[in-house]
């Protein structure tokens, strides 16, 4: 089967994709936001024989399949623009073949870009001369590789010191820095071993230390944990988060694993067929996916952490009583029965939530003040409560869960039915 056939089905999504990437993604090509340390503008990479023609076709807006069919050129990265903020972990996520590994290599020009800019700390890397580029690689960017890529003939400390060695540091100086980097990744006593004598997780710690040793402005991690077994991967993710807490380093992290992306990513960019489909926080991607492709990523993921009460609540149209809590219950009994709902919500004149009532509680109270009719066992949640908290509370009580904001106002309610619906919809995908 030719690759074109697989792409053909995606064509229909393109217009949609293009518009969403314009709106939701990233720095507009014209300007660079103040806190952006690395800005990528209209970056493209085309592999193959007829570069000029393919680049023209790309500029004319032709799709990747058409270009491949007509020229035999592969568009690996298609007009990607994004901004990485200082101190954040920016995850670029996509399936294999989506161009993410090519994209990260365009950032330090291990692969030469066909067109576009890569602006690091105000300087465009794309047109740099070889010596300039070498300086950037030595001082500003360091990379961690999926396959670790440690030099097997060198000991751990010699590997970690490699970047400093090519930069021309003296042996004692570079070993001192390398030793500190090793201690930081928890391998202080392993410096004399060879990489082959370490486990996979330890090898990647060495890889991480080697990158940290040059104290880069931007750390590029290309599927750095993908080759590790699940337990070690989990441990390394935590290790990265721990290091990130100690020093806010800017990290561009490539991953195909959505759970990894939402765990470590401050923001996540989703790539598909060489394009950046959507950029946002994990919660944004889950709540407002740009298309089916993005939505599908989350199909098998426990997203309860990212679904918030604020996005699940329904506004109360019937059975909302704005009154003094001293008012007589009797008045509201008929209103509640007439409205046909089985639960009413009482707020004071300024809109602050006081409690919930049912026909039964109102009837029981008779002519007494409504405050005596308020149900005692109703718990409320804040709009930030996640699906997990929400469902545990909803299951415990017989009535819908009121969502109360920080000002004490009633934002709406979440019913068990809504929660169930959300969960089922995601499962069915």
């Amino acid at each position: 089967m030719s690759p074109n056939l697989t792409f053909a089905s995606d064509e229909a999504v393109y217009p949609n994709v293009a518009s969403s990437s314009e709106t939701s993604s990233v720095a507009s090509p014209a300007s660079i936001a103040a806190n952006e340390i690395l800005t990528v503008q209209n970056l493209s990479k085309i592999f193959g024989p007829k570069l000029e023609r393919a680049a023209d076709m790309l500029r004319q807006g032709l799709g990747r399949n058409e270009i491949f069919q007509q020229t035999g050129n592969m568009v690996a990265v298609d007009n990607v623009s994004l901004g990485v903020r200082a101190g954040e972990i920016f995850v670029i996520m996509g399936l294999s073949g989506s161009g993410k590994s090519t994209l990260v290599r365009l950032l330090n020009r291990l692969i030469e870009p066909t067109s576009g800019k890569v602006v690091l700390e105000g300087r465009d890397i794309a047109p740099m001369s070889t010596p300039e580029l070498r300086e950037v690689r030595r001082k500003k960017m360091a990379m961690v590789f999926q396959s670790f890529a440690l030099l097997p003939n060198r000991t751990v400390i010699e590997n970690v010191a490699y970047g400093l060695e090519v930069a021309g540091l003296k042996k004692t100086e570079r070993y001192e820095v390398a030793r500190k980097a090793l201690v930081r990744v928890g391998l202080g006593s392993y410096e004399k071993l060879y990489p082959g004598e370490l486990s996979g997780g330890m090898q990647q710690r060495v890889g991480l230390a080697r990158a940290l040793a040059v104290n880069p402005a931007v750390l590029l991690m290309d599927e750095a944990f993908s080759a590790l077994d699940p337990l070690i991967r989990f441990e390394m993710q935590n290790e990265l988060l721990r290091l990130q807490k100690e020093e806010q380093r800017t990290v561009v992290f490539i991953s195909h694993d959505i759970e990894e992306a939402i765990k470590i990513g401050g923001r996540v960019g989703v790539m598909k067929d060489g394009r950046l489909v959507q950029v946002g926080t994990p919660a944004e991607l889950i709540q407002t996916p740009a298309d089916e492709y993005v939505r599908n990523f989350f199909r098998n993921v426990d997203i309860s952490r990212f679904l918030k009460a604020s996005s699940l609540l329904t506004k109360i149209e019937k059975g909302l009583f704005l009154c003094d809590t001293g008012a007589s219950s009797e008045r509201y009994l008929n209103q509640l029965i007439d409205s046909g709902v089985d639960c009413g919500y009482v707020c004071d004149e300024s809109g602050r939530y006081q409690g919930s009532v049912t026909p039964a509680s109102l009837r029981h109270c008779g002519k007494g003040p409504i405050r005596d009719a308020l149900l005692r066992d109703i718990a409320t949640v804040s709009p930030d409560a996640d699906l997990h908290d929400l469902s545990s509370i909803a299951l415990r009580q017989a009535h819908d869960v009121p969502v109360v904001d920080t000002a004490g106002k009633l934002a709406g309610v979440v019913s068990c039915r809504t929660i169930l619906k959300q969960v089922m919809e995601r499962r069915a995908g």
Binding site: N108, L110, M143, L151, T155, Y162, K192, Y194
Partner: protein, 300 residues
């Protein structure tokens, strides 16, 4: 018997070289002869006992006590057969030829690994050099350099060079792409990539090439005795001329023993010293044991 056009062309080429570059060849010949003489005299001046102990010590260092014992017995056997002087002379020729083979061959191999077109040219040239019968080299060598050890060494250089060129190219090309990528990503220059990543990682392959080159040099040096190289080959040759089985066998045995000694020792340099690694590991575990002890003490 007359050769065809092809043979005549080769003859003309050699004659042309001989006529027009004779001075160059003479100078080169004199220089090479001086180097070989220095090596032969130098090695010859070392007392037998010192050489014996030296070889056994190297065998013990690189390999095992068993191999060291073998080396001791082999050298004593050669000495007993009265062939030690010839062996040293052959060894000097092998060392000289190998030295120049490597001096030319390793850079050629590096060039081949870095330049696709160079590799294509080199490959056909090496095929030619390797498959051309060894005796054939002796003819132009004699015409250009006369008889003696210089043409012998030159014919040997040509014959013995291909393996190290090929295996250097192969070794460098087999260095994993991600190691090169890592090297580049940390800002290595091309020469840093070569010296710090390509050559160290190609070393086992290059060492195998050196080993093969030495073996081929040894076999060629024996053949080259026909043009007056001297050494063990001369002894074998006289065995052939006199149809003397005893002399032929003794000379041949000397070559075999020398070959085994050189092969095993040079081969051992291709493999990382296992002993050294084990030592580091032992130190490591000792070191970490101390640290754990310390931490438990501070905890209590």
């Amino acid at each position: 018997m007359n050769s065809s056009f092809i043979g005549q062309a080769a003859e003309h080429a050699v004659n042309f070289l001989f006529l027009h570059f004779r001075g160059g060849f003479d100078t080169f010949s004199a220089a090479l002869d001086a180097v070989i003489k220095l090596l032969q005299d130098g090695l010859g001046a070392i007392p037998f006992a010192v050489m014996l102990i030296g070889f056994v010590a190297i065998a013990l260092w690189r390999k095992s006590i068993v191999f060291a014992a073998f080396v001791g017995i082999a050298i004593l056997t050669i000495h007993y057969m009265g062939l030690w002087a010839q062996t040293v002379s052959t060894l000097a020729l092998v060392i000289a030829a190998t030295f120049f083979s490597l001096l030319i061959g390793i850079p050629l191999g590096i060039w081949g690994a870095r330049n696709g077109r160079a590799e294509v040219v080199l490959r056909s040239l090496l095929d030619f050099m390797q498959t051309m019968p060894a005796f054939v080299y002796l003819i132009p060598a004699v015409i250009l350099f006369g008889l003696g050890r210089v043409p012998a060494v030159i014919a040997t250089i040509v014959f013995a060079m291909p393996p190290v060129v090929r295996l250097t190219t192969l070794g460098i090309k087999q260095v994993r792409e991600e190691l090169m990528e890592a090297g580049r990503s940390f800002g290595s220059t091309d020469s840093q990539l070569l010296w710090k990543i390509q050559l160290p990682n190609a070393l086992p392959s290059i060492m195998a090439g050196i080993n093969q080159t030495i073996m081929m040099a040894l076999s060629m040096v024996v053949v080259a005795s026909m043009i007056g190289a001297g050494g063990l080959g001369e002894y074998v040759l006289s065995g052939i001329q006199r149809l003397d089985i005893g002399i032929g066998f003794e000379g041949g045995l000397g070559v075999v023993l020398l070959a085994i000694i050189l092969d095993r020792i040079t081969e051992s340099f291709g493999v990382k010293s296992a002993k050294k690694r084990a030592k580091v590991k032992a130190q490591m575990s000792k070191g970490s044991a101390v640290t754990t002890q310390e931490t438990t003490q501070t905890q209590s």
